[in-house]
């Protein structure tokens, strides 16, 4: 906190949620919304049961299966019996404790970070947690949202609080208009490339500047989603009219006079003019081009019109060694133009880029074109409601006519826990958030791109500059 008493958004939300604080101890922070999914929650519920504890506030937890759900043949159980068991365990735990649960056949089911906002559960000023690192997504609404481990999930279930040290604050200021063909995904990939994978460690980020102010909620969610990829657990955009417009009328958003009161309160969730940040990072949005990752961390990206970097020209030895290892895994030669890299698979989906705007952008490229021969392309909407919307808008037909597979909602090939898996050696243009080794299947090679760039790769059979299409 600054001497003047001026505070940043993060500090305001934090102060508002401190239940107890004592010197030498972490603050005890109240949690407004806890989201649970089938993979990181079963051990937490089980531990509660063993300890004879109950869920303190079942009304503040919402559960949805997403990580390993099948994205086709939904009427059948998951092929893998253990996935099925995790899905059933979540259902049982939700029923037993009286927790709202969007089951697999419910149209509202989808990726946990897509449905929170979609249902209006995610609101400005809240503290939101989930046993998943991309919980940072909800920061797009001006909420302090971060991922936790399973022991912490158990702690939240039992106490509705978390023991946390106050994070340092970081301002990420981006100004200017995005050029044609450049998307929020490219903005965040550029930020990560410059900040490095651990540039934000220990910090909560506030995204500031005209670029974010002019972004849609979908775009803000894409940016906040990948905050964790430069090490910061949480990233927020100040709530504004764009935020309120998105939320109004959503099923769990306040209504009537409650809505007006809420908006009045949310308007104060902004950083005071003379508040200071522990660190600041600046970027000029007009210089950003569509980006493609070439390595095995999200920081290893370049613009589409350049070439695979050469480790020999990297000044830092350990950076060069990591780059060599990455290129070896990715089976890429230095100095090869990005647009000459062929792809085997294209995945459009994940909590980063599976919202209606993402599907519109991809469909705009796919329309009237066809997936290149030998390429397998999947579109996995972020929720059942997005799927229905895309079908209504005719986007599904565009994809199907272009030769894309049109699936049901879930995490799918983002982490390959269901049967949507890369085969060893396959190269994938993916709209997801992690290009770690084996992330999309053992031996699979992932290149992160925007939805439009993914569609461009699908129809060309190799990476292509979407600005030239």
């Amino acid at each position: 906190m600054t001497d003047t008493g001026s505070r940043t958004i993060v500090e305001k939300i934090w102060d508002e949620h401190v239940v107890h604080s004592a010197p030498g101890e972490p603050d005890l922070l109240y949690v407004d919304l806890h989201l649970a999914h089938e993979v990181t929650s079963p051990q937490a519920f089980e531990a509660l049961r063993v300890a004879g504890r109950s869920v303190r506030r079942p009304d503040l937890t919402v559960a949805v299966p997403d990580h390993n759900v099948p994205t086709h043949n939904r009427h059948l159980p998951a092929k893998d019996p253990i996935s099925q068991k995790q899905i059933e365990t979540l259902r049982r735990n939700a029923q037993e404790h009286g927790i709202l649960h969007f089951d697999i056949v419910d149209e509202r089911q989808g990726i946990v970070h897509v449905i929170g906002p979609e249902q209006g559960l995610t609101q400005p000023g809240m503290v939101i947690v989930c046993g998943d690192s991309h919980t940072s997504t909800h920061g797009a609404f001006g909420a302090l949202a971060f991922g936790i481990g399973t022991s912490e999930v158990e702690h939240v279930l039992a106490t509705q609080t978390l023991q946390q040290r106050r994070p340092k604050t970081m301002a990420v200021e981006v100004d200017g208009d995005l050029s044609r063909g450049v998307t929020p995904k490219d903005v965040i990939l550029q930020i990560i490339a410059e900040a490095g994978v651990d540039g934000g460690t220990g910090h909560a980020v506030e995204y500031r500047g005209t670029t974010f102010a002019n972004m849609s909620m979908e775009g803000r969610m894409t940016v906040c989603n990948m905050t964790i990829e430069f090490g910061a657990r949480a990233g927020l955009v100040p709530p504004d009219d764009v935020t309120f417009e998105y939320l109004e009328g959503r099923p769990y958003a306040p209504t009537g006079s409650g809505w007006d009161e809420a908006v009045a309160r949310w308007r104060s969730v902004v950083t005071d003019p003379d508040a200071t940040f522990d660190s600041t990072f600046r970027l000029d949005a007009t210089t950003i081009a569509p980006r493609v990752t070439w390595g095995t961390t999200p920081a290893q990206s370049v613009s589409v019109d350049s070439a695979v970097p050469n480790p020999d020209s990297m000044p830092d030895d350990s950076v060069a060694a990591a780059a060599r290892r990455a290129l070896e895994y990715m089976a890429l030669e230095p100095d090869v133009p990005i647009t000459e890299i062929p792809v085997d698979v294209v995945f459009i989906g994940s909590c980063t880029n599976s919202r209606i705007e993402d599907l519109r952008a991809a469909a705009a490229v796919a329309r009237g074109r066809h997936v290149a021969s030998g390429v397998r392309a999947l579109v996995v909407p972020g929720s059942g409601l997005i799927k229905a919307q895309a079908e209504k808008e005719g986007l599904a037909d565009v994809f199907i006519e272009a030769g894309f597979e049109w699936r049901d909602a879930g995490c799918s090939m983002c982490l390959a826990m269901n049967d949507d898996v890369l085969e060893p050696g396959q190269r994938c243009a993916s709209t997801s958030n992690r290009n770690f080794q084996g992330r999309q299947g053992p031996g699979g090679r992932t290149h992160l791109v925007s939805p439009a760039m993914a569609a461009a790769a699908a129809v060309n059979g190799h990476f292509a500059d979407v600005r030239e299409i």
Partner: protein, 191 residues
């Protein structure tokens, strides 16, 4: 969860000379299909272990309880399965120049001690354990000291976390001491 208390430990150390080791590498998602907390050790570093010269395949490090690694260890996914796998494999201490935030929190809850030392000291420890796999490191949580041969270095650890590790305390028990404050907060918010 009740965890084993930790005071001090002397052991060989596994040198994992890589930075940005993510939790997908520590335990790939396909092995998270269990509803238990145990049994993940066999899948630790599963794909790296397929490389014959990967350090975990070197029998000389068998039984080591300390892992020394490069910076930003444990980045990526929040899966607690990563520390579960390390713990199940036998690791109680990880030494690195830096750790990812969520991973580090998860380690405390699993009873793994994460020690941050300068990059230069970590490289020194890495090269000692690489050259002589038998060389031992002592991690003393009571004095916050690392000892190896004639050398000693001190490290910082969040005091609250250190206490918890020393006593093997359950986090929920600690919080429930303040249950009245949680209730008071809730009734204040409800108004």
């Amino acid at each position: 969860m009740v965890m084993e208390a930790f005071r001090a430990l002397t052991s060989k150390a596994i040198p994992l000379d890589r930075s940005d080791v993510d939790t997908d590498q520590i335990i790939p998602a396909q092995y998270m299909k269990r509803v238990e907390r145990t049994g993940y050790g066999q899948f630790l570093f599963d794909s790296l272990r397929r490389e014959p010269d990967f350090v975990l395949n070197d029998e000389r490090y068998e039984g080591a309880r300390i892992l020394v690694a490069g910076r930003n260890f444990g980045c990526g996914s929040s899966r607690e399965h990563a520390p579960w796998a390390l713990e199940d494999y036998g690791i109680r201490v990880i030494i690195a120049p830096s750790f990812a935030d969520i991973f580090r929190n998860n380690c405390v809850n699993v009873g793994i001690v994460t020690v941050v030392l300068d990059e230069a000291v970590v490289s020194e420890l890495l090269s000692r354990s690489t050259q002589n796999p038998e060389s031992e490191i002592t991690v003393d949580l009571e004095t916050c000291e690392i000892r190896a041969g004639d050398d000693r270095w001190t490290f910082d650890l969040d005091e609250f976390h250190r206490e918890r590790l020393l006593k093997g305390q359950d986090q929920i028990d600690l919080t429930l001491r303040y249950e009245d404050r949680i209730a008071a907060y809730e009734s204040r918010r409800a108004r």
